[in-house]
Amino acid sequence: MRNQAPALIFGIVFGALLVYLFLPGAPSGPARDAQDLSKAEQENLAPEAARGGTLRVVRDRGELLCGVSQGLPGFSNPDDKGDWRGIDVDVCRAMAAAIFGDASKVRFRALSAKERFTALQAGEIDVLSRNTTWTLTRDTVLGLDFAGVTYYDGQSFMVRRDLGVSSVLALDRATICANTGTTTELNAADYFRTNGLEFEMVVFEKTDEVIAAYDAGRCEAYTTDASGLYAERLKLKNPDEHIILPEVISKEPLGPAVRQGDDRWADIVRWTLYAMIEAEELGVNSANAQEMKKSDNPAIRRLLGVENSYGQNLGLRGDWAFQIITQVGNYGEIFERNVGKNTPLGIPRGLNALWTKGGLMYAMPVR
C-alpha cells in the first residue's frame, strides 16, 4: 500500500490541475479591492458603489454579464448559430454599446426562473434582462431595483381549438399547466377564485416540459404571459390547432433589474432604455442616425450627443445614444425585429406602441 502513495498523490494533483486548466473563465470583477470593500462596509453601501460602482467593475472586466432566459423566442433565445436574439438580449447589447461603444461586449448567462434573482443578488450578473415582471415584493425584499419596462405584457391562456372554448370563464374544473417560480401561478389562482371557478394546476420547472405535457393532453390550458404563449405555440406539433384566449388576467410589466444600492448603475440601464424609446419617437433609427446628426431638431441633437454631452453625466461616452441606435436600433426596430408582424411570433404593438400612438411606451426627456 505504502509505495502506491506517491502515484496516488501525483494522480490527484495532476487531475486537479487538468480540471483547473479546463475550467471556464470566471468573471474577475468582484472579490477584488479588499481595502475598498471594507470601506464600503463602514459606509453601509453596496460594495460596488464604493468601488466606483458596477460601472467600473464592468469596465475593468471589459464585458457586461447579462442574465437572460434559457430560451424564450423573441425575448432571449439562441439562434441556429448560437447567437442570442431577442428584446431582452438587445437591451443588454444596447447597454454594451453605451458603455463600451461595442454592442458585442456582452456575455449572456442563461438562468431558470428560480435562479435569476439569486444570480443577480450574488453578483454573478450585472443586469437581469429576463422577461421578469416588476412587482412590489421583487422591488423591495429581494434587494433588487427595476430600471424600467421593456415590454408591457399580460397573462393569457392557450387552449386546443377543438376544445370549443372561447373564454377563460368556460374553463371551470379544467387542468392548467404552468411554469413554477413565476407570478403566473398566483395570478391564475386569484383569477379562478374571484370568478368562483375550480381548477387544477400542474407546474413544471422547465418550459419545454410544460409544452410537452400540454401537447400530450395532460392539461386543457397552458398559461403564461401572452408573449410567451405566442412564442411557445411555435414549438407545438401543430401550432394552428391552438388558440390564445382573449382574456388578459394580469399586468405583467417586464423589464431589466439591477442590484439595489447602486443608483448610478440603475440610471445607466434606465436611460439606455429611454434612449431607444426616445429615438423611435424622434424618428431616429439605425439607418439614418448618422444623417440625423445634421438635423436641426434640438431634441435629436441632444440625443445623439451633438450638442451637450449628457453621456458624461451618466458616466458614459458622449455618443452613448448614437452607439445604441446605430449598433442595436431604436425600440421600434428592436420590437419588429424580434417579435413584430414579420416574425413567426407576429405580435402586434398594442400596449407597447409609443404613447403618441396609443401605447404606453414613454421616455423621460433627454435633456
Partner: protein, 401 residues
C-alpha cells in the same frame, strides 16, 4: 504506533524535567485529559466558525436589503397545489404548503421503499433461478435499469404514461367506478357514516390480534387464519347496518369529481423510483443469498424441504444479515432521489417549497435550510430504524453456560 510515539515523547519530556510539580502540568501529562482538552478546543473552533458563518450571512442579507427570518411562513401562499394529503387551498399559509410538500415527499418515499423492496427481492431471487430464461431476464432487467440515469427514466415513464393513456372522455375503465386516463387514476372513495370509522379501525386491530393468536396458540394456517381475521370487521359492519357508501368519481365538464385521484406525475414518479431502486436492491439480495454457505442449502435438501421453504426458512433469514446494511443506503437514495419530482411536476417538498414558495418569497437561505433539515430528518429516521432492524437480525452469541 502513534501511542508508543506519544508515550516516548512524554517520557522524554518528563525525563528532561519539562514538567512542573503543580497539578495543572500533571493533568496535561495525562493523555486522557489532554485528549478532552484538544477535543474541546476543536469543538469551540467549529462552533465559532458556524457562528461567524451565520452572523456574516445575516449581516450581508441586511446590507443587500434582502429580508430574513421566518415571518413569511404565516403569509398566505397564494398558489394552488394539485395533490395534497391535507386540506390546502391557495389561501392557506406557507407553513401549510410546506407540510403539504413534506407529506407528499414522505408518501412517495414510503410507497417507493415498499415497492422497491418487493421488486428487488423478486428480481434478485429470480436472477439466481435455475431456470435459464428467468435468470437471464432478471439479469437484463437489473443491468438495463441500473445503468440509465434516473432522470431519464423519470421522463420516460412520465411521457410514456401520458402518451399511452387516453383522454378523459375515453377513459379506460374496468367498471366499478375505476377510471384510468391521462389525468390519472380515479377510484371510488369509501364514505363512512358519522362515528363509524373509529370502531371499524378498532375491529381491524382486533382481527390482527385474533390472527396472531390463531397462528401462535392454535397453530392454524392459511385460509383458516384469514377467515377468523375477517370476522370482527364483518360482524361490526353487519351490526351497524352496513354504514358505508361509495363516492364515485364522475366526469363533469373538464374533470372528474369525487372519489380519490392519483395524478399521473405521482404514478410515474413512483414507478421510476421503485423500479430503479429495485434493480439495485436486487443486486444486494443476490449477493446476500450467495453469501449463505452452500452447506446450508444442501443440508436443507437432505432433510427433504421443498425449495420454496428452503428459500424462506433457511436462506433468506441468513442472507438478511448481508442484505440489510446496503439496503439501508438504497432506501436513503430513494428518499433523496424523490426530489427529482420537480422535473415532472409532482408537488413534492422541493417543487412546492424550495421552488414555488422560494420564488414567491425570495428568502433562499431560510427556505433551503428548512428543506435540507426535512431530508436530513427523514434520512436519519430511516437509518435509525434500519440500524435497529439490523441489530435485531445480528447473530446473537450465546454466553458460555
Amino acid at each position: 504506533m502513534i501511542k508508543s510515539w506519544l508515550s516516548s515523547v512524554i517520557g522524554l519530556s518528563s525525563a528532561i524535567g519539562l514538567s512542573g510539580d503543580n497539578a495543572l502540568a500533571r493533568s496535561f501529562q495525562d493523555p486522557r485529559i489532554r485528549g478532552w482538552l484538544m477535543q474541546a478546543a476543536v469543538l469551540l473552533l467549529v462552533a465559532l466558525g458556524i457562528f461567524e458563518l451565520v452572523q456574516n450571512t445575516v449581516l450581508n442579507l441586511q446590507k443587500a436589503n434582502i429580508a430574513s427570518g421566518f415571518g413569511f411562513l404565516e403569509n398566505p401562499a397564494g398558489f394552488a397545489i394539485n395533490f395534497s394529503l391535507i386540506e390546502y387551498s391557495a389561501q392557506s399559509d406557507f407553513l401549510r404548503a410546506f407540510f403539504v410538500g413534506v407529506l407528499n415527499t414522505l408518501l412517495v418515499a414510503v410507497l417507493g421503499i415498499v415497492l422497491a423492496t418487493l421488486i428487488g427481492f423478486s428480481v434478485g431471487i429470480a436472477r439466481l433461478s435455475p431456470n435459464w430464461l428467468v435468470a437471464r431476464l432478471a439479469g437484463l432487467f437489473i443491468e438495463t435499469l441500473r445503468n440509465i440515469p434516473l432522470l431519464l427514466q423519470l421522463f420516460f415513464w412520465y411521457f410514456v404514461v401520458l402518451q399511452l393513456l387516453p383522454s378523459q372522455a375515453e377513459s379506460l375503465t374496468p367498471g366499478g367506478g375505476i377510471f384510468l386516463n391521462n389525468r390519472g387514476l380515479f377510484v371510488p372513495r369509501i364514505l363512512w357514516e358519522a362515528g363509524t370509522f373509529a370502531p371499524f379501525c378498532a375491529a381491524l386491530f382486533a382481527s390482527l390480534v385474533l390472527a396472531f393468536f390463531a397462528r401462535k396458540k392454535f397453530a392454524l394456517e392459511g385460509w383458516k387464519v384469514l377467515a377468523i381475521a375477517a370476522l370482527p370487521p364483518l360482524l361490526l359492519l353487519l351490526v351497524l347496518g352496513w354504514p358505508l357508501s361509495l363516492d364515485m368519481p364522475v366526469l363533469e365538464g373538464f374533470g372528474f369529481q369525487g372519489g380519490i385521484s392519483l395524478i399521473p406525475e405521482f404514478i410515474a414518479l413512483l414507478l421510476a423510483l421503485s423500479i430503479y431502486t429495485g434493480a439495485f436492491v436486487a443486486e444486494n439480495v443476490r449477493s446476500g443469498v450467495q453469501a449463505v454457505p452452500k452447506g446450508q442449502v444442501e443440508a436443507a435438501k437432505a432433510l427433504g424441504l421443498p425449495s420454496g421453504l428452503i428459500m424462506r426458512k433457511i436462506i433468506l433469514p441468513q442472507a438478511m444479515r448481508v442484505i440489510v446494511p446496503p439496503l439501508t443506503s438504497q432506501y436513503l437514495n430513494l428518499t433523496k432521489n424523490s426530489s427529482l419530482a420537480v422535473a415532472i411536476a409532482y408537488p413534492d417538498l422541493v417543487l412546492v417549497f424550495a421552488n414555488t414558495a422560494l420564488s414567491q418569497v425570495g428568502q433562499a437561505v431560510e427556505i433551503i435550510a428548512m428543506t435540507m433539515v426535512v431530508y436530513l430528518l427523514i434520512s436519519l429516521g430511516t437509518s435509525l430504524f434500519m440500524n435497529w432492524y439490523n441489530a435485531r437480525l445480528a447473530l446473537k452469541e450465546r454466553g458460555v453456560a
